[in-house]
Each structure stands twice: as structure tokens, then as C-alpha cells.
């Protein structure tokens, strides 16, 4: 029951945080010069000043900021996140429509990260201080240091254009078909590289710590084969910290989509956000920041719960 109480308390505590997120976003976007109407009329000789005034009134953009905020908040509490001004559609519909694309990309990046990081981290930890460790340390640092947009561009240039191994357009097949998965490879690798490098470093550290513990020495002393020691005991324990981090990595992968989607022209939430910023679609900006905010808060919560479950020392704090 402790855990339940803890979860409830943490969920309640996240409400003011999300409220803060919305206030800050709302305030910042409203202080920003220009609005969506200015984008519509800027270079349209058919739109007069009267049209601009008319549209601002229609969109409710001529009220004082605080009135707009209260209206917005009231609507959000009833589940209405407002309309996308240029298309007149519900912004939440837009977000739901784009979400699967971003999730598919993120999931692929995540799987890629795990596939590289876990074996890489184990290898580095076992060979700590040897050349293999240095190589993996260097590789991990490179993975963290390479700008993902540049990595994406270079992958496209080499593998897609020069070697012609990957298609450039969505094959328009069902999401789990082989051609779709093949198409996901380059953006997935791009979005997963940094996460994979980070995960590898953490895996290495936690594994190395674990290997130094007494039970390992004891197990070895008992004459258990090194393989069994590593795979059965050490790996399980060191995965605990990796599991908790994986939740955070998910959030970071999703936010990395802003850049990667732009590089690959991927029709997900990230590219939608960049557009929303450019044309000041305030409702869309708000719903996406709130959405990612919820996501991050949830990821943190989840990580804490997992951590609490796995490490009894923490649980009794609550």
C-alpha cells in the first residue's frame, strides 16, 4: 500500500508542475512578437488589415493574455485543447494522428540503443582497463558527442544516396512490414545513437561496480564458472539501474525526434512542433509541450516506482 500512496502522491505533485509548464509556455509564446495571423497575412496581397483584425477576433487572439489563458485552461479542463488556427482542426486530433509515427521511430531507436549498449557495456566492464574497454569508452564518447542532425545527414548521404541501400520515401506499407522496418533503420539509428552511448556507459559502470562486490568474489571462490557469475548474478543486478534509466531514455529519445524528424522528413510530432513554432500555432505548441511534459513526468514516476520496487531500501522511506 505504501507504493500506492507514493504513486498517488507523486501524481498529485505533478499537477502543479504541469500547470507551471502551461503558464510558462503560454506566457512565452504570447510575449513572442508576431502571431499566426501575421503569418497568414504577411505576404498575401488578398488579405487586408481588416482581415487580420477579423481573424484575430475569430481566433480569440485579441483578448488580454490572462483572459486567453483562463479561457484556454477552462477548455483544457473539459478536454478541449483548442483548434489549430490555420486548419481549424482540433490540435489534439493532430497530435494523435502524428503520435504513432514518433512512437515507431522512438521504439526503433530504443531497441537499437539496447542492442548496442547492453553487450557493449558488459564487454567493457569485463575487460575493464584493457584495450577493449578503451575502445568502447572512445566509441561511447563519440556517440555522445556526434550531433544527431549531422549524423543523420551523413547517413543519408552515404547509405541512402551514394550506396543507395535505403529508400528515401515512406514505402506506404503497414507499420510492421519488412520494408517499413528497413525504412526505419537510418532515422532509428540516428535517434538511438546518443541514447545507446549513454546506456553503454551506465551499463559499464554499474556492471563494474557489481563485479567488485563481495558476493561475486564469493561466487568465484566457490568455483562457479565466470560465465555463470556474470550472466546469472552480475548482469541481473546491474540491469536494475539500467532499467530505471531506460525510462528516462525513452523521454529523451522522444524529444530528440524534433531534430531527427526534420532531417529525415519524418511526419511525426517533432516536425509538427518545429512548424508550430515557426507559424506561432500557439494551441499546438501548448499541447505538444504539455504532452511531452506529461511524458517526462510519467517517465520519472515510472522510474521511481521501478526503483522503489527493486530497491527495498528506498521504499520504506514512504
Amino acid at each position: 500500500m505504501d507504493l500506492l500512496k507514493f504513486t498517488v502522491r507523486r501524481t498529485l505533485a505533478s499537477i502543479p508542475v504541469l500547470f507551471g509548464v502551461s503558464v510558462i509556455t503560454f506566457g512565452l509564446v504570447h510575449l513572442t512578437p508576431g502571431d499566426v495571423v501575421s503569418q497568414l497575412v504577411a505576404a498575401n496581397p488578398d488579405a487586408s488589415q481588416a482581415d487580420a483584425v477579423r481573424l484575430r477576433r475569430e481566433f480569440g487572439l485579441d483578448d488580454p493574455v490572462w483572459v486567453q489563458y483562463i479561457n484556454w485552461l477552462g477548455d483544457v479542463l473539459t478536454g478541449d485543447f483548442g483548434e489549430h488556427f490555420t486548419s481549424g482542426r482540433d490540435v489534439s486530433a493532430l497530435v494523435w494522428a502524428r503520435l504513432p509515427e514518433t512512437l515507431a521511430l522512438g521504439l526503433f531507436g530504443w531497441v537499437f540503443a539496447l542492442l548496442i549498449a547492453i553487450p557493449g557495456g558488459i564487454y567493457a566492464a569485463i575487460n575493464r582497463g584493457e584495450i577493449g574497454d578503451d575502445v568502447s569508452r572512445f566509441a561511447a564518447l563519440s556517440g555522445i558527442s556526434i550531433p544527431n542532425f549531422w549524423l543523420g545527414l551523413m547517413l543519408i548521404a552515404v547509405f541512402s544516396v551514394q550506396l543507395n541501400l535505403f529508400p528515401t520515401l515512406d514505402p506506404q506499407e503497414p507499420l510492421l512490414s519488412t520494408s517499413m522496418l528497413w525504412w526505419l533503420v537510418l532515422p532509428g539509428v540516428t535517434i538511438g545513437t546518443a541514447a545507446s552511448a549513454n546506456l553503454m556507459r551506465i551499463m559499464r559502470t554499474s556492471m563494474a561496480e557489481e563485479l567488485n562486490k563481495e558476493y561475486v568474489t564469493a561466487a568465484r571462490a566457490k568455483g562457479l564458472p565466470e560465465r555463470t557469475v556474470v550472466l546469472k548474478h552480475v548482469l541481473r543486478n546491474s540491469l536494475i539501474s539500467v532499467t530505471t534509466i531506460a525510462a528516462f531514455l525513452t523521454a529523451s529519445i522522444v524529444s530528440g525526434s524534433v531534430v531527427v524528424e526534420t532531417v529525415f522528413g519524418w511526419p511525426g510530432l517533432g516536425i509538427l512542433f518545429v512548424e508550430a513554432i515557426n507559424v506561432r500555432e500557439i494551441n499546438l505548441i501548448l499541447v505538444i509541450t504539455l504532452f511531452t511534459g506529461v511524458f517526462i513526468v510519467l517517465a520519472n514516476l515510472l522510474a521511481d516506482i521501478v526503483y522503489a520496487l527493486l530497491d527495498p531500501r528506498i521504499r520504506h522511506d514512504y
Binding site: 507523486r10 508542475v17 507551471g20 509548464v21 510558462i24 509556455t25 512565452l28 509564446v29 510575449l31 513572442t32 569508452r137 564518447l141 563519440s142 555522445i144 558527442s145 556526434i146 550531433p147 544527431n148 542532425f149 549531422w150 549524423l151 545527414l153 551523413m154 548521404a157 544516396v161 551514394q162 540516428t190 535517434i191 545513437t193 546518443a194 541514447a195 552511448a197 549513454n198 556507459r201 551506465i202 559502470t205 534509466i245 528516462f248 531514455l249 523521454a251 529523451s252 529519445i253 522522444v254 524529444s255 530528440g256 524534433v258 531534430v259 531527427v260 512542433f273 513554432i277 505548441i285 509541450t289 511531452t292 511534459g293 517526462i296 513526468v297 520519472n300 522510474a303 521511481d304 522511506d317
Partner: protein, 343 residues
């Protein structure tokens, strides 16, 4: 997202928990070291020793120093009407069009070729170091200073002050950092100072949280209690005793975050939100030349226009991270630097 890095950590979210948990059992080395100042100094000596032995870190350090040098001397610096720094390392004016033909491939006169307007890519890449490198350092310095003070005040006073102040930190953390930076940049507009402002406003929260955690640990120590009992003023206790002892993880976080900031700035440039097109900033250059990746049937890839600017970002960030990694190891503080994508 780059600036996301370092912000999500296992031991981060529930501030109360850290307070209770960590305060209850001040762990190991840090606490002991903090008890007498000579030990603290020894730690820094040890760091320098260890860095000297780490060839990777030394290489990184060398590259960083060279790039800083280049950033200063690439083009003359004029303040007002006075030329403060007259040297110019770049062979051409990076903004001058037509010093070569359109898309000349690398040659002796243009070691990195020319771009679409016949500008010298080498000059542009070198001049570009000024933007990215300085922003990295300036942002980190600003964010760390503010974050340390903020977190210091919050942690030291505790109670309601702490509760309120840390809620703001929570809110900042609930934003994906690049997203918040994008919103801020669209508010401030592009350019050097707005970008510094945007990234500093995004970055300070990490330091605040770290320093607060550390302070909660240190605060329990006897000598602080003793100092307070002897009537030392809050300010002096905070700045004389607590912060110097809690600074190690901040240093680690700072060295590791310079690279993050550099990538973040370049990412905004790449998204067209950083500097004006035409500015020789690395990300902006990549954005402007990305069409050259694919130039149609039988077209050539003018690789030099995209490879070199990206390479420079990578080189600088890699170098600074090698230093940061070594500092991290040497100080042996666990800053769980869980970083997202490189941008």
C-alpha cells in the same frame, strides 16, 4: 535532444526523497573529505594528476585550447571603433562572396572548398568556432553561477523557501530542453546574446538541483553546525563552507554540459532558429548546404560543405567530453549523465 542531457537522472525527481534519504545517511568519501579543507584541496591536486596521465583527456584539452585560441584570433575583434584584436587567421573574409567559384572542391587555395556563393569554407568554419565555442563556455558559466546560487539558497534555507524554489526547477525539468530553448529563441529572436540567454535559462536548473542535493548532505556536517552555533552569518556559512565543498559535482556537470550546449546551439542553427542564414555558424551552415547532399541524377555530392562544419562540431564536443569524462572519473562523483540524442 541535446540539452536534455544531464537533466534526467535517477536520483533526481523527488526532491524530498533526496533530502530525507541522503541527509539520513551521508555517504562515504564526499562527506568525510568535506570535513577538513586540506582534503578538499588534495582532491583537486589528485584530479590534475590524473588528468595528466590520461592521454585522451590531454588530447581533448589540447584541441579545446587550440579552438579557443582560434575563436579569439580568427577575425579581428572591434569594440566600438577600437580594434582590440587585430589578427586575422582566416585567409578570406568569411562573408565575402565570390572569392572562389561556386562549389569549388578543396584545393590549396581553398582547403575546405567553397560554398554556393563562392565563399571560402575554411574561413567560414574557422570563423564559426567563435560562435559555437564561446556560446558553450559563456552559457555554462552563466547557468552554473546562477544555478549554484539558486540551489545554494534553496538548499541552505530549506523549508518552504526550498519547496517553492524547487517547484520551479521541477517545471524547467518537465520541458524537453531543446523544446524550451526553441520557444525562448522564438521569443528573443536569433543571434548570439539571445541564444546565450535561451540556453542559460534552460541549463541552470541542473546545477541548482545538484548543488542543493550536495548541500543537504554537507549541511548535516558537524563543522557547519558548529559554525552556525558560533554565530556565523548565513551568507558566510553558505559561501565559505558549504558551496566550496559541494562544488565537485558541479564542475563535472559543467564540463560535460559545454558539449551539450554546443550541440544544442548548432541544432537550433540547423533548424533555422539560431542565427541568420549566411552566418558562418556551424549548424546554420549545415542547414544552408543540406540540399547539396542529394543533387539529382548524376549529380556530385559537394561533401565539403556539409562534412567540415559537422566535423568541427563533433571535434570540439568530443574533445571537451574527453576532458569532462576524465574529470568525472578523477573526482569520482557520480553525475549520472543520461543524455538524449546529440541535439
Amino acid at each position: 535532444m541535446s540539452t536534455e542531457r544531464g537533466r534526467i537522472r535517477v536520483s533526481g525527481f523527488e526532491t524530498e526523497r533526496i533530502a530525507d534519504h541522503d541527509a539520513a545517511e551521508p555517504t562515504g568519501d564526499d562527506a568525510e573529505e568535506a570535513e577538513d579543507d586540506p582534503e578538499v584541496q588534495n582532491r583537486w591536486v589528485r584530479v590534475i594528476h590524473q588528468l595528466k596521465r590520461d592521454r585522451l583527456a590531454l588530447t581533448g584539452m589540447a584541441v579545446v585550447v587550440v579552438m579557443l585560441f582560434v575563436a579569439v584570433f580568427s577575425r579581428p575583434i572591434v569594440v566600438g571603433d577600437v580594434t582590440v584584436q587585430p589578427l586575422s587567421l582566416t585567409p578570406y573574409d568569411p562573408a565575402q562572396t565570390g572569392v572562389g567559384d561556386r562549389y569549388d572542391s578543396p584545393s590549396l587555395t581553398h582547403p575546405m572548398g567553397t560554398d554556393r556563393l563562392g565563399r571560402d569554407t575554411f574561413s567560414r568554419v574557422v570563423a564559426g568556432s567563435r560562435y559555437s565555442v564561446t556560446i558553450g563556455f559563456v552559457v555554462t558559466a552563466l547557468a552554473a553561477s546562477f544555478g549554484v546560487i539558486y540551489g545554494g539558497v534553496s538548499g541552505y534555507f530549506g523549508g518552504t523557501t526550498d519547496g517553492v524554489m524547487m517547484r520551479l526547477v521541477d517545471v524547467i525539468f518537465a520541458f524537453p530542453a531543446l523544446v524550451l530553448a526553441m520557444i525562448l529563441v522564438s521569443l528573443f529572436g536569433g543571434g548570439f546574446i539571445p541564444l546565450v540567454g535561451a540556453f542559460a535559462l534552460v541549463g541552470w536548473a541542473s546545477y541548482a538541483r545538484i548543488i542543493r542535493g550536495e548541500i543537504l548532505k554537507v549541511k548535516q556536517n558537524e563543522y557547519v553546525m558548529a559554525a552556525k552555533a558560533l554565530g556565523a552569518r548565513d551568507k558566510s556559512v553558505l559561501f565559505r563552507h558549504i558551496i566550496p565543498n559541494a562544488i565537485a559535482p558541479v564542475v563535472v556537470q559543467a564540463t560535460l554540459s559545454i558539449g551539450t550546449v554546443v550541440i544544442g546551439v548548432a541544432a537550433l542553427g540547423f533548424l533555422g532558429l539560431g542565427f541568420d542564414p549566411g552566418t558562418p555558424e556551424w549548424g546554420t551552415m549545415l542547414d544552408a548546404e543540406r540540399d547539396t547532399l542529394i543533387t539529382g541524377a548524376g549529380g556530385t555530392w559537394f561533401w565539403w560543405t556539409t562534412v567540415f562544419p559537422g566535423m568541427m562540431i563533433f571535434l570540439f564536443v568530443m574533445s571537451i567530453n574527453m576532458v569532462g569524462d576524465a574529470v568525472n572519473d578523477a573526482l569520482d562523483v557520480q553525475v549520472d549523465d543520461v543524455r538524449g540524442g546529440g541535439g
